[in-house]
């Protein structure tokens, strides 16, 4: 029953989100394509393709109906530039981007937890201080600057590896701060104090007792990581020339391809909503399993 409710809430959220995207798109006045390319050139380019959304005259509800028809028939509209389905274009580029995203998520988690552990558990004050400084430094340097520096300094042909590194370096400090704050608060709890009083080593207590309690923070970080990653990928991929969704967004902007940009906004936001749903479900599962309490119930 709880799962069904969550599914229903996600569907409602996705519908509302798509409506928000459409409303924002609709409120922007005039037609950019008509302003830049005239009608005849459009017809010449895509003589057989259907007319794009904004060229359809009619009131708001009629355009919204057309927008949802495009979504439901699985095309998500038609690209102004190539004349092919927007969803097809996105799915063609998605594997490049999503593999890098998954790899960088793994590295981010390892690096973030490692930095937090070092900052809290290092007996040496110098190591703790250096870790804190590196977190502050990584937080301050924009991802695209790291990307440009690594791009210039590294040999050619390792752009995918560079992308993973850049994404991880830019996202890990946020996770490190989140995990560190949580761990720091946990050190005030009686069970932690009791473990120390029993004579256990600080690092052992952190590893065995505190780190499992971080699961909630790791899950809470997922949607935030996605938002951070979307922003970074849109800037990094054009620099490294990775043929993923970030480059697609940039090319669509250059080609004034509004349909693809709207499709990308829809795709990115939908994934974030789904990740939020996944976070809640996983949190419910892990909360019961590890902490032995019924989640979501007082």
């Amino acid at each position: 029953m709880r799962g069904f409710k969550a599914l229903l809430a996600t569907l409602v959220a996705l519908t509302l989100y798509s409506f928000l995207v459409f409303s924002l798109y609709w409120t922007i006045p005039s037609d950019p394509v008509a302003g830049i390319l005239n009608r005849s050139s459009l017809t010449f380019l895509h003589s057989t393709s259907p007319q794009p959304l904004r060229h359809t005259p009619g009131p708001f509800w009629k355009q919204a109906q057309l927008f949802y028809e495009h979504i439901l028939d699985g095309t998500w509209g038609v690209s102004f530039w190539t004349g092919s389905s927007v969803l097809r274009l996105i799915l063609d580029r998605a594997p490049h981007t999503l593999w890098i995203a998954l790899a960088s998520l793994f590295v981010t988690y390892c690096l973030g937890i490692g930095l937090a552990y070092l900052q809290l558990g290092a007996n040496n004050r110098t190591i703790s201080f250096l870790t804190r400084c590196s977190i502050a430094l990584l937080l301050s340097i924009p991802a695209f600057c790291t990307c440009i520096l690594l791009f210039i300094l590294s040999p050619a042909g390792i752009s995918h590896l560079l992308a993973v590194l850049v994404y991880s370096l830019s996202a890990a400090p946020y996770l490190a701060v989140l995990v560190y704050t949580h761990l720091k608060a946990e050190t005030q709890t009686p069970y932690f104090q009791a473990a120390l009083a029993k004579g256990l080593d600080l690092r052992q207590v952190i590893r065995k007792h505190l780190l499992p309690s971080v699961v909630g923070q790791l899950l809470a970080y997922l949607p935030f990581w996605w938002a951070l990653w979307v922003g970074t990928s849109l800037v990094i991929e054009p620099i490294l020339q990775i043929p993923g969704m970030g480059l697609l967004a940039f090319e669509s902007f250059r080609n004034q391809d509004v349909a693809v940009l709207v499709g990308l906004a829809l795709f990115y936001g939908s994934i974030r909503i789904l990740l939020g749903c996944l976070r809640d479900s996983l949190f419910a599962l892990t909360h019961e399993k590890w902490l032995g309490v019924r989640a979501y119930e007082p």
Binding site: A13, L20, V21, L139, I141, P142, C145, A227, V230, Y268
Partner: protein, 287 residues
């Protein structure tokens, strides 16, 4: 060691504050039509050199590929970026606080609906929408700032809502309610002042995030209109002139310092901008 001397960290903070103020003053003077000396004008091109030139007495931080002084461009870039950040922070704060306060006084089902809507707005990614907006309003920095604010207020609204709900069970507000004060009056007179520390915590984050977003767009020449100075325009030039290290080093230093100045104290250190506890003035000191 003399205790009255500022530490290195304090010295750096003062120096950077002076840098920020100078940038803002220069931008305001430029807008006001004040005739600045030639060397302090952001669009001035030094025709006596072959750009890009390395740092010298004439141009302490070197010049860009067109022969414009990098130091002056970065000062103006800081000013413009901060004005953009301030625009986002002001609009986001106004909308976020108003929505958060309003929602906290509604019945719980309506609050939940509002919370869901806020989460949805927060899910909208900025950069794809910025690209969309830039198609219609190229170089319109105010439109870009409004879009950023439109997508940023959600987190503050949620924080304000939760804080306000917590405050509503405090003795001060219960007393106010029992005296027959309307929810609007309670919100404006008692809850809003208590939310100012929360707002203080969010402002630097709004500014840092906006500066970063603008710099990301400027990297491709999409943020500030082309002749105007920006903090990341020279990174693009550095990709073509990799031997010109000053095109990377100085802008990176300024940009990273700006983000560090506003963001890092809020996340890594103790908040610099929050002077009071989160429930300042709302709790009975001796119950």
């Amino acid at each position: 060691m003399n205790r009255n001397l500022p530490s290195l960290k304090q010295f750096w903070n003062y120096f950077f504050l002076a840098w920020i103020l100078l940038g803002l003053v220069l931008v305001v003077l430029h807008y006001a039509g004040f005739s600045l000396p030639e060397a302090l004008q952001p669009f001035w091109i030094d025709s006596e050199i072959s750009p890009p030139t390395s740092p010298s007495w004439r141009h302490p931080w070197g010049t860009d590929e067109l022969g414009r002084d990098l130091l002056v461009r970065l000062l103006f870039g800081t000013g413009y970026s901060l004005l953009f950040g301030l625009e986002v922070a002001v609009v986001s704060s106004a909308v976020g606080m108003a929505v958060g306060l309003f929602l906290s006084f509604l019945p719980f089902p309506l609050q939940r609906l509002g919370s869901l809507s806020i989460d949805l707005v927060a899910s909208l990614p900025f950069l794809p929408f910025a690209l969309l907006v830039l198609l219609w309003y190229p170089g319109q920095i105010i439109a870009l700032g409004l879009l950023k604010a439109l997508l940023s207020w959600g987190t503050l609204a949620q924080a304000a809502r939760l804080q306000s709900i917590k405050l509503q069970s405090s003795p001060m507000l219960l007393a106010g309610r029992s005296q027959g004060l309307s929810p609007f009056r309670l919100a404006i007179k008692y809850v809003l002042p208590a939310l100012i520390p929360t707002l203080h915590g969010f402002w630097p984050l709004f500014i840092a995030s906006s500066v970063l977003s603008l710099a990301s767009l400027d990297l491709f020449g999409l943020g500030m209109p082309i002749p105007y100075p920006s903090l990341s325009e020279t990174f693009r030039q550095f990709l073509e002139h990799t031997e010109a290290w000053w095109l990377m080093l100085f802008p990176l230093g300024v940009l990273a310092s700006l983000i560090h100045y506003f963001m890092t104290p809020q996340t890594v250190d103790q908040p610099r901008f929050s002077r009071y506890g989160s429930l300042h003035g709302t709790q009975i000191s001796n119950p």
